[in-house]
């Protein structure tokens, strides 16, 4: 039954993309949902992770530097470290200032990263991007259904590990401090909590998770190019978090699923309904649909599908 196998391959691809977006969304939830840090340069941190992993894992090549051909897992770890480090540096430079500066700076970082990926050809391959990024389970590539399911399983495993790890972290005294700083910084300081220190930790960790999402995406597709990392990615992740429920890790995952499903479904729908010559214009309807969901959420359910809990610590049965 080739049709069924095709469906399995498509279904696992579809769910894998949701998983990859969910990872990025979990990173943003740590920064914004828990800590109130307004990062509008998500695409930049995802790109840093994607390129780091690509350079570490691709086979030796003359197209760009890197090509270290290291194991994929090392590439992913490296991605987390560079993205985390980049976030740490951006945070260290701006988190002492008013919150607006973080927004401006992160936006600038994303633009800069995009320009670097476009122009630093010896590092990034320029607009041609980096190809032949090793994919997990490459040996099964000739059997799309098996390949898709294996990758999906791996990505689901990463999402689960991240979810559990983040829940342990934010539903704890540490997460409680983040929320206290977000709600009443002066009161938190009067109780001995250094806002800068905690914000920096959350921002760096969130950035590392975004980098991981970029690295996994690069390994999953096997090819990256600068235009994968435009501000529309940032917008998409933000929408996922707002719709799913800011401050709730399950909400972040749910939002990723909902928005990606909407995106794909509207794409499928416009493909069915409109004639080929109108396809490019009809694609705008996808963004309209996302915009409608976003606006509807903000008006009807501003806390998102799953809101924040009153009791922070998982050690308390409240």
């Amino acid at each position: 039954m080739p049709d069924l196998l095709g469906l399995v391959a498509y279904g696992s691809f579809f769910l894998a993309i949701i998983g990859i977006n969910a990872i990025g969304c979990l990173g943003l939830n740590l920064q914004w949902g828990q800590t109130g840090l307004f990062n509008v340069g998500i695409a930049g941190f995802i790109a840093i992770g994607a390129y780091t992993s690509a350079l570490l894992t691709t086979p030796a090549t003359t197209d760009h530097i890197g090509g270290l051909h290291l194991p994929i897992l090392i590439g992913w770890l490296g991605a987390m470290i560079t993205s985390g480090l980049a976030s740490f540096l951006v945070g260290a430079a701006t988190l002492r200032l008013r919150s607006d500066y973080l927004a401006i700076t992160t936006f600038g970082v994303a633009v800069t990263v995009h320009l670097v990926t476009l122009n630093a050809q010896s590092l990034t391959g320029g607009s041609f991007g980096i190809a032949f990024i090793p994919r997990p389970f490459e040996t099964y590539a000739s059997q799309p259904a098996v390949f898709g399911l294996a990758n999906l399983a791996l990505i689901v495993a990463v999402v689960v590990v991240l979810y559990v790890g983040l829940e342990r972290l934010v539903r704890s005294p540490w997460g409680r401090v983040l929320r206290a700083i977000r709600e009443e910084e002066r009161a938190a300081a009067s109780l001995g909590k250094s806002a800068t220190r905690y914000r920096l930790q959350a921002f760096a960790l969130g950035g590392a998770i975004m980098g991981l999402s970029g690295a996994i995406h690069a390994s999953f597709i096997g090819f990256i190019a600068p235009d994968n990392y435009l501000s529309s990615v940032t917008f998409q992740i933000w929408t996922m978090l707002i719709v799913g429920g800011s401050g709730n890790n399950l909400g972040a995952i749910l939002g990723a699923a909902l928005i990606w499903t909407t995106w794909s479904a509207t794409g499928f729908f416009t493909g069915m309904v409109f004639p080929p010559e109108q396809q490019a214009r009809a694609a705008a309807l996808q963004i309209v649909a996302i915009g409608l969901i976003l606006s509807g959420t903000i008006v009807i359910r501003p806390r998102g599908l799953l809101g924040e809990r009153t009791t922070v610590s998982r050690h308390l049965n409240g």
Partner: protein
């Protein structure tokens, strides 16, 4: 319950070094001297009042003592150490806690967790133990929960322990702030208008609780307009006006001081 707790008084020379003192402390905002060369000293174990008309610079004074504002000039000594250059979050470790004139509860968080945030030295406030030593964090959380519940009981809010703090009235918020700062076990607490907006029955509780804590050795510096509270709790008061220290003494003497009367009843000095 004694109306006026025992304990040493304000600045009378007792030989002991004060727990908190300032030397010519000043804060200028542009050309305005909100606080202008104020020197005060608070003895350990005392309840000291800081009074004065609106705009006298009392809250600016508090914000400097608590580290929220950097002084333009002068020195703050806490337990014998100059602390004016240190950030606000370092004060509690040095033994100084505060409440706010307009309470700042963590509104979306349950009362008991509001209070638990006051606990110092929690392992769970560092990232790694939450992943690698969850048992340790859980045990601490249980202990801190019990302690926080006791403090909520102390301020008569235990029945609301699991409600978010936003449901509280103004007076209850003052009580919550008191419980929260007590969780940090400070040696001196700065209370900014503990009686403002508090209904009379809650006010009695607040006065009684401050007295009880003081009898266990806790020092208080209190900004307050309610002279009933001041005269019942404080043996020593500082009166500020127009950024300067006007006079100090017992509540009974300062309210009869002609300068104080003039400062309160208006009439710019000529």
């Amino acid at each position: 319950m004694q109306d006026r707790p025992s304990g040493s008084t304000g600045t009378q020379a007792t030989g002991a070094s004060p727990i908190l003192s300032t030397l010519s402390l000043s804060k200028h905002f542009g050309g305005i001297a909100a606080v202008d060369g104020v020197s005060i000293s608070v003895q350990r174990g005392a309840i000291v009042g800081l009074i004065g008309p609106n705009g006298a610079g009392k809250t600016t004074m508090f914000d400097m003592l608590a580290g929220d504002l950097k002084p333009t000039a002068g020195e703050i000594r806490l337990q014998g150490r100059a602390v004016q250059a240190e950030p606000a979050h370092a004060r509690i470790r040095a033994g100084l806690g505060r409440t706010f004139q307009i309470p700042r509860p963590f509104a979306a968080m349950s009362l008991v967790e509001n209070v638990m945030l006051g606990k110092q030295g929690q392992s769970g406030e560092v990232i790694w133990p939450n992943w690698f030593r969850p048992g340790l964090v859980a045990a601490e959380e249980r202990r801190n929960f019990t302690e926080a519940m006791e403090l909520l009981e102390f301020v008569t809010l235990q029945h609301l322990a699991h409600e978010p703090a936003r449901v509280l009235s103004g007076g209850q918020r003052k009580l919550l702030e008191l419980a929260r700062v007590l969780m940090a076990k400070p040696e001196i607490v700065l209370l900014d208008e503990p009686a403002a907006g508090v209904n009379p029955s809650l006010l009695e509780i607040i006065i009684e609780r401050i007295g009880a804590l003081n009898s266990r050795g806790m020092t208080f510096l209190i900004i307050e307009h309610n002279m009933d509270l001041v005269s019942r709790l404080c043996r020593h008061v500082f009166v500020m006006a127009s950024g300067k220290l006007l006079v100090e003494g017992t509540p009974e003497t300062v309210v009869r001081d002609p300068d104080v009367i003039e400062a309160y009843l208006g009439g710019a000095k000529v």
